[in-house]
Symmetry: C2
Amino acid sequence: MARIVVIGAGAAGISAASTAKQYDRSLEVTLIGDLAHTAYSPCGIPYVFGREVASFDDLFLQKSEFYTEEIGLDLRLSTFVERIDMASRTVEMGGGERLPFDRLILCTGWQYVLPEIPGIELEGIHFVKDIDRAREIDRALDGVDSVVVWKARPVGLELATGLAHRGKQVTVIDEEPWLLAEFADPDVMQMGQESLEKLGVRFLLSTRLRELKGRDGRLVSAITAPGEIACQMAFMAADQKPDTRLARQIGVRLGSAGGIVVDDAMRTNVADVFAAGAVVETPQAIAEVPVRLMPGTYAYTQGRVAGANAAGDERHYRAVHVPWAMEVGTTQVGGVLITETLARALGRPYIIGEAKGISCARYHPKVEPMRVKMLADPATREVIGIQFAGGDGVKERADFMAFAMRKHATIDELATMENVYSPPIGALNEPIAVAARNAVAAAAGK
Amino acid sequence: MARIVVIGAGAAGISAASTAKQYDRSLEVTLIGDLAHTAYSPCGIPYVFGREVASFDDLFLQKSEFYTEEIGLDLRLSTFVERIDMASRTVEMGGGERLPFDRLILCTGWQYVLPEIPGIELEGIHFVKDIDRAREIDRALDGVDSVVVWKARPVGLELATGLAHRGKQVTVIDEEPWLLAEFADPDVMQMGQESLEKLGVRFLLSTRLRELKGRDGRLVSAITAPGEIACQMAFMAADQKPDTRLARQIGVRLGSAGGIVVDDAMRTNVADVFAAGAVVETPQAIAEVPVRLMPGTYAYTQGRVAGANAAGDERHYRAVHVPWAMEVGTTQVGGVLITETLARALGRPYIIGEAKGISCARYHPKVEPMRVKMLADPATREVIGIQFAGGDGVKERADFMAFAMRKHATIDELATMENVYSPPIGALNEPIAVAARNAVAAAAGK
């Protein structure tokens, strides 16, 4: 009987282990996680802080018993893996127990990089990740008036939105001059910033967080060049790096972004070792640079492929475009790389088609703006990036465009795309089509 | 100076005339309409009846002066065209005035077919189309308790939704066994029917409307086999036919669906005569049957192509997939032809992939169902039809799939589509991808 060991019980690990067992019930599949829980949605934490989601209990997809009894996994939680020995094909756990394997799947995820900011060790400074810590933070939040969020990255903006909803005075500090600078251009993000400002969030952009000041070991303020911000809590949306400690032990090859390099079957360079989730990196199709730390949906998908293949199947999948979207305040933003900022940095020629569209008939009370910024290659006329800001429907449009870009859609094809018109749900002119028509005009030099 | 005459001042006509004039300001462009108004959205009428949109005045896009003064059109409203003389290239209007033209664009739209139902001439029976008549109906609605809607077609269901919102007792009568039978399958439409039933709408399906009964010339009830329904108003979502009276006079070729046949430049078979909007028909890509009376968005798009080409440009466009979507009660439904019903009728082989998905994270309070039914060709594995029922995002998904079908997307490609995951706006598993994966499994005989 073949034995599969999956290390890491996050989204990728749970999906890999379950898929392997379901593919071949005769396999012995062990899933090892260092935390006390599995199968919950860490992405939901900011929404519980914001009281949009009622309870942390809601974030659990399944109880552990589901995986042990229904799926039939050998589940080891709160278990730390010390080392892997490829010669004897065993995993050595804390306490000395050794577990043999025939195939191994590394789903070891990511870790925060501790920023070098004086005072970073003070009580009241949080790096949101684990649900048990989140429960504690949530209780402590009741006694807090003012919070600082460091870095206007996705999790930082989700926290800023949630904490503003909860009535906290929120200050976002970032050295970048605009929000989500890695994914979006400043002109598109303006609407998101304004939406958060309407909720009372204050932004200190192009601003370095110099120091976190404490009294009796507890955070009391954040120091920046423009001044000192009194705060009882700080949330650090710090850099995240793939947790490759175990991978490096056994000679698994890492890429230029620091993640594990896998082929489209999620195989590493080491025989019988697979990897999936936030620990791997994959080349983004347009930018042609490796990306890592993609949203949870990729972890599940990659986990399924890794699990099935480790169990003997031959599946293929490689994420390449990575559509993204989120709520920032009450505005939705999203898109598919590359941005204008990145195109310039890469020295890549581009034309732009913009649209200030609407989400449904202009006379309908539900009407919301839907801004589009489309980038295309002037030679091939293929779309090479898109960004949205507006009301409902950003996520669906980002999915659409990621697929269209995979199919090498041109601005000419999108300019003549067909669209639904129905007063309460769809405008006469689909904003994507308007942006494409404007890109066609831009290409013609009009 | 060349002269262009556009007949019909609906969406296609206004778009054709404006585009022609904007393409070449030296042209003399006359737009003739038989009603007193132009440039309003007739599609908005049911929403004013339902008080979702405050006033009929909101439905006007522009005043007539915009078209005469800003665009520079010669606008003739409340003007009936008696005949066209191709020998002298003149249009003869009511009253005998003759207008010469070099190029002609027929945008004569559609008319209701008067159904052969005894009592159809009674007061209180309405065919919704013109905004002035709609204002009168709206006033009369205040004194009405019970209304009948004949046929569960798009406009019928929009009216049923709006009138239920307004507190009227609504009964929908249709000979078809389910709602929107031309566009959707019964399993998908069940959710829409239930949504309307929750609003208090009663359905008499598979039921013939035998007679409309009156007293003193006014409607008092509708007679069906199951019984008599007391009602003070009836809205007839009757058959609609292209208004080809003028086209036939000058030998313009009509197609099997009764509409004008045009090429992809919107040219008819008669030299210098173009046509656009509801009066034309065009082959649907999958069903390979001509469709006509498409939503207003096609009228605008076709009008732009016809107007530009009549003015000397060379543009091309042909609608082929026709995505549709609408609100039925509080449920959104939509899709792209063909349906399972139609596939069977055409004797076309198909496989089905279904999904009972959700619109965002299952624990988020905004979560709504998103049901998907996907049809694919078992040989090519290309998608040949899709239907949706659920919450927000149906219109965007229908647009997406119409484009994907134009790009010959397969179930394998859609099964590995990338999707946004963000708790308040996107679920871990995009319902389209789930349906595609289930279609892949169905194709493998699983």
